[in-house]
Amino acid sequence: MAKHATPLLDQLESGPWPSFVSDIKQEAAARAANKNGLDYQLPVDTPEDLLGILELSYEEKETHWKHGGIVGVFGYGGGVIGRYCDQPEKFPGVAHFHTVRVAQPSGKYYSTKFLRDLCDIWDLRGSGITNMHGSTGDIVLLGTQTPQLEEIFYELTHKMNVDLGGSGSNLRTPAACLGQSRCEFACYNTQDMCYQLTMDYQDELHRPAFPYKFKFKFDGCPNGCVCAMARSDFAVVGTWKDDIKIDQEKVKAYVAGEFKPNAGAHSGRDWGKFDIQAEVVSRCPGKCISWDGSKLSIKTADCLRCMHCINTMPRALHIGNERGASILLGAKAPVVDGAQMGSLLIPFINCDAPYDDVKEVIEKIWDWWMEEGKNRERVGETMKRLSFQKLLEVTEVEAEAYHVKEPRSNPYIFFKEEEVPGGWDRDLQAYRQRHQR
């Protein structure tokens, strides 16, 4: 029988979707059975107490978790988040319930051995409950106590060759899509760039000195499988400069119904015959595609890199050959200010290893934000407060039309005198000869 009655949580199991309540109950049962005879370092009923305290919060409609703490591993300012409950006598299994963040492998490729070893550590020294993966993309190990932290850290780093992730006012665990390892749309090696920048910026990951969190994400193409444009302060999104490559014979094959559009992804119901005009041409946001019945044409200058045509007809269309990435800055979820998407800073940057071009931009932004950012201010908020123009200045990027979001209503690019040929001075007499008062 369950340690705590949880009628409100039980109700959550009745929906059609997988339930975290069922998962925690399963873990509670597994710990109670202890088939492997483990010498659990946390109370065996920790998962049951977790359910109990959550049920209490549902009843009372207020949290019983306290805020933060001093816990961590020696020398690291992130990776461990102190969590304590305010009902330790009632729920001793979760009196201390610290979170440990672990850096996920680039592109989230695991061997089963890695996952088993990770679970072995966590069954012994933690609650056994994990979150694969957290919002930032890292492995989240939920619930352990302070004496276990250094032990866990030692085993992770020495036996599994993996490090803690980022938390607090740090660079957060960088995340990449699986990129060129499996995806034909990837315009650069996302996994390698993610790995290299993680290694190069260890100090920023583990020793907090930023005004607030800072996230990198690396998407290989604008499909955005790690949502870099929406979820990272510094988004690197693969793109290309030249024309989308078109295989006209394959286009005709799609039109003739020989290939399923979207590689058969929408086969759950009958959508009728593939209509290239309705499903591709008229859906192009740049209105740059035309189909004359036998030939598909794309005007590259008007292409917005939305990926829709390539996604729909992947055997006929392919990304261009001149590949690199765009950099967007400032995406965030709402906290101090509202949510915002990234703003395009650099439309095309070289993405060849060792990624010095990208690192140069990152470091200029950090230097500025560390000086000018207020406490708990994301770089996107600093950018809004001090102007996009200021960001262009510190990153030494010249203002271009694509930096202006809304001409006239929001003309935030102002030229300085030294940027204008001839400056502000003019010959008033000559002017008056041409223009009477």
Binding site: G69, I70, G75, H96, G168, N170, A209, P211
Partner: protein, 77 residues
């Protein structure tokens, strides 16, 4: 005065009212130094176990080791 002592004296002078400080509180103590130089001094003090980190999960602060109520209140001192 050595940089480390400036930091420790600052923390002691504030100890009656506050025990945890943002990184920027320390950069203001060294107007002639960049944030990265200040970070090196703070990191050294953390490694010497004079300072310790406090983290809410989203924000990190620095304080003198053992200062404030945190460790005693959690029964983990």
């Amino acid at each position: 005065m050595a940089d480390k002592d400036v930091i420790i004296e600052f923390l002691n002078s504030k100890s009656a009212s506050k025990s945890k400080f943002y990184f920027k509180d320390f950069t203001e103590l060294f107007p002639d130094k960049g944030p990265r130089e200040v970070k090196k001094v703070l990191t050294q003090l953390v490694n010497e176990e004079v300072l310790e980190f406090w983290s809410s999960g989203s924000t990190t602060m620095y304080g003198l080791k053992g200062a404030g109520k945190q460790s005693a209140a959690e029964g983990e001192s």
